[in-house]
Assembly symmetry: C2
Homo-oligomer: 216 residues x 2
DNA sequence: CTTTCTTGTGACCATTTTTTCAATTTCACA
DNA sequence: TGTGAAATTGAAAAAATGGTCACAAGAAAG
């Protein structure tokens, strides 16, 4: 047992995956699950799964497996999915619009509760139940709604300035869809999601690696 | 010099990042660049950059740095960005629609050249210059247009079946936006992009790691 | 009570990052 | 042109991180 350590990043990135499949199992009425079965569903080696789980303590029972409900509850708490997390979105363009309609909340306790944009034709509107505010309201709304995560979907050349506004407004984590690499104070977490990069990487693997797995 | 080896995955994932910034430098007229300068722009340690580059040979000059144009040309070739790559998109919903309008082609030689969906109200239409075909045309179009990469943006419960159709049609790589973990033959490359996972991971880091970087 | 199943983990292996520094080049200036 | 200081790469070595094997230990099932 390896409790009280910090969980490896690689492990953390797999937790939502486990969590999602556990919910499916629970909803289908299953009571127990083995690392082998989980492995086939989420495509992660069973030893890796057991190792991942072991960072959190002895969650399973030898010769039996893991109790689905117990594990599900545990991960819900671990992933903060037992309470609502409000998220802001900045930049209601093509991608921003799609994300507003993405319904994270359908299966998780995450919801976009405020959107921001500069365009006059969209500010003041309500998109899929989410109000779109002008950038000037950012600080106020983020404070009132106690939001500390933002999704950044503005054009590349507006990425840095909007990131700075978000940080000034008190945001602690940014999911950055712009190709710009943001410069922010080191206590702000930035998660880059760069679709072009992902495609280019896939193309490279396809042309050079042939017959292998690329992972995430 | 470490030529003729396969390039580490971690390195490949950073190549598009370098490539993008080199293009910016080139467009601004810069002739040379050092790993240190590059490091600040792309937020990757300069030693890591030098190591990454060294897998491809001795691209730089000691005491000088790297020649921007030479490096840019080299990466364009390496990333296959010197010729057009056609990509298919399956599932013209919210996200699919946004991706159709994403204009990968603006700054790279990647373009979505065919979309597929089941909905009658959209099949036959042209979205942002891209024709939307019925699923039944998939095999034909993918063959004719010699497409070997597809973006999968269908609902979660349609992910597996559409992946199978894509594979049957001859696709070699799939960028999977559904939360489903696809089961495909091992010579098919799958790149998973799970937005909910990314958000949940960010939330976890925010609550547990405080003041650290999460990287990609 | 024996067989089967399955976890948790030590030991090992692989990959990735970082440190360090010799080798090389540039540059300023005499 | 010659010389020393500053800049910068490339790579060896070390450190950190992540993944897998293999098996003892415990639990379940017959």
């Amino acid at each position: 047992m390896l409790k009280n350590q910090t969980i490896p990043k690689a492990t953390v990135k797999r937790l939502p995956l486990y969590y999602r499949y556990l919910r499916i199992l629970f909803d289908s009425g299953k009571q127990k699950v083995s690392s082998k079965e989980l492995s086939e569903a989420v495509k992660v080696d069973s030893a890796t799964i057991r190792r991942d789980f072991s960072y959190f303590g002895e969650l399973g029972k030898r010769g039996y497996g893991y109790d689905v409900e117990k594990l599900l509850d545990f991960f819900a708490k671990t992933l903060n999915d037992d309470r609502l997390t409000n998220v802001a979105l900045v930049g209601v363009g093509n991608l921003g619009n799609a994300l507003l309609k993405y319904h994270f909340h359908q299966s998780n306790s995450i919801r976009i509760s405020a959107a921001f944009d500069v365009r006059e034709d969209i500010v003041g509107k309500i998109v899929d139940g989410i109000p779109v505010y002008p950038i000037s309201d950012m600080e106020e709304q983020i404070r009132i709604q106690q939001i500390d995560i933002a999704i950044l979907t503005v054009p590349a050349d507006k990425g840095q300035e909007n990131a700075e506004k978000l940080v000034a407004a008190g945001i602690k984590g940014i999911m950055n869809f712009t190709p710009a690499r943001l410069t922010v104070s080191s206590d702000i977490l930035v998660q880059n999601v760069d679709l072009t990069n992902e495609l280019q990487t896939l193309i490279y693997f396809l042309n050079h690696y042939k017959k292998e797995q690329t992972g995430e």
